[in-house]
Symmetry: C2
Subunit: 266 residues, 2 copies
């Protein structure tokens, strides 16, 4: 999916909502556990309930990998079920030396044909480049994350800037705003405007809204651009809005509420 | 496997050799492609041919993940086939926010019961801690890697040190030499002695010997400690020493040659 198609979705749905399918099998409502594939049954219901408000789905691969083969089967069925006009993200945070990163790119661009994958920058250019070489796919590199641990390295001085600023500036040169996005954590609201100034054109994947404390209003005011330019991820506050037979209705209402907050800015 | 057991292996085999099972299906000898599971058939032959010289096997998960379900099946069969007294490493380079890292820890410590997993440090303490909480397991954190891209961030100034030095010093406080190792790339020989001085007790997983240009002599002289304290990984120079029916005999000879070079220091 190209940049124009993502933007078109954003302005037609008046939404920058990305729903995070962090589907922890221990949190699935009890009545779904009778299904042959409870994880897929859950995701299918969530997708049905939320897709009209949603421009992207993010599959957090860890929750599927931990289940072994059956997890990968649920992942594949979920990916196939997502409507084709909605952007898909493999939140896998991979990255290794060149020939190994190429295998990860094959995993998430071909074996499981996502539109994008998240990548960790620590190993530098030759660990990111193999992902960028896939035509029509997106590489989403960690910039500044929304967790407490971001203070340990990302927020430390690196020459005359902070490490995450160096990462954003350096990595931006390896691709372009049509194949490269960055993870920018929304709980660090003081940084949102600064990061947008640094990178006016790139899309940002913004986690941390909801359970982690960020808010839609602050994010939209400080990071929207002419293309839309952001995907705000919400996971737990939507998919686990309720833990009973009303879970999908509650997810629908939660997604609708987020979309409504976003719509005033779009 | 605990520190004492790893050391015992090292001194009884007079080896710090880790064989990297970066099993690229396109590089497997043609005659094995008739097997039901060529990747496992290849790995089994490599393990049979090299285990007497080897104290660890490192499975590079990317090469298996790229094959989808059948790759994970090959991975599991390979893991089960490795002799129980040999240390196993999932070279997966994972790392995410806490609840997600916990799922990755479950993946590689429980679903696939490796002794250890490699972890990227960029997201900080709460991304590493969930791995360290598994009793009897090891977390191997990226310090300085052997690829060209290590210059982009790892070798950049971070306050009064370089980023990788900050990572080593900071992360060392999160665990102890009985549950935490570091990746230290062997192509940066000038750094080996310095890193050993910084962390006298920790085990280092040292890639970069062979195809990437590092050498056993320099590594052993500068990093061995009383416990052994290093695992030198060799992948391509052993497993792809030949591409015909002699591949396992050639792998045997290559592993034996590396072990012999190591034995003079042990």
């Amino acid at each position: 999916m190209n940049r124009q198609e993502i933007s078109k979705q954003i302005f037609s749905k008046k939404s920058v909502l990305c729903v995070g399918l962090d589907t922890d099998p221990t949190k699935i409502p009890a009545h779904l556990m009778r299904e042959e594939d409870p994880v897929f049954a859950f995701n299918k219901a969530i997708i049905d309930a939320t897709h009209e408000f949603t421009v992207a789905y993010k599959i957090n691969t860890a929750f599927y990998e931990a289940q072994g083969l059956k997890g990968w089967i649920s992942l594949e069925k979920t990916l196939n079920y997502i409507p084709k006009n909605i952007f898909t993200i493999a939140d896998a945070k991979r990255g290794d030396i060149g020939n190994t990163s190429e295998q990860y790119a094959i995993t998430f661009f071909k074996t499981y044909p996502f539109d994008s994958v998240t990548v960790a920058p620590y190993m530098g250019r030759d660990s990111v480049q193999p992902f960028l070489q896939f035509e029509g796919k997106w590489t989403i590199v960690l910039g500044v994350t929304s967790n407490a641990g971001s203070a340990d390295f990302q927020l430390q001085p690196s020459g005359d800037s902070l490490l995450y600023q160096r990462v954003l500036k350096t990595v931006a040169d390896w691709g372009h705003p049509g194949n490269l996005m960055f993870v920018v954590g929304a709980t660090r609201k003081e940084q949102l405007r600064e990061v947008r100034t640094l990178l006016p054109e790139h899309f940002f994947l913004i986690p941390g809204v909801g359970a982690q404390g960020g808010d839609v209003d602050t994010v939209c005011r400080n990071t929207l651009n002419d293309a839309g330019g952001i995907l705000i991820n919400v996971s737990r506050n939507i998919i686990f809005a309720a833990n009973d037979t009303s879970f999908d209705a509650q997810a629908h209402d939660a997604a609708k509420k987020f979309q409504k907050e976003m719509s005033v800015f779009l």
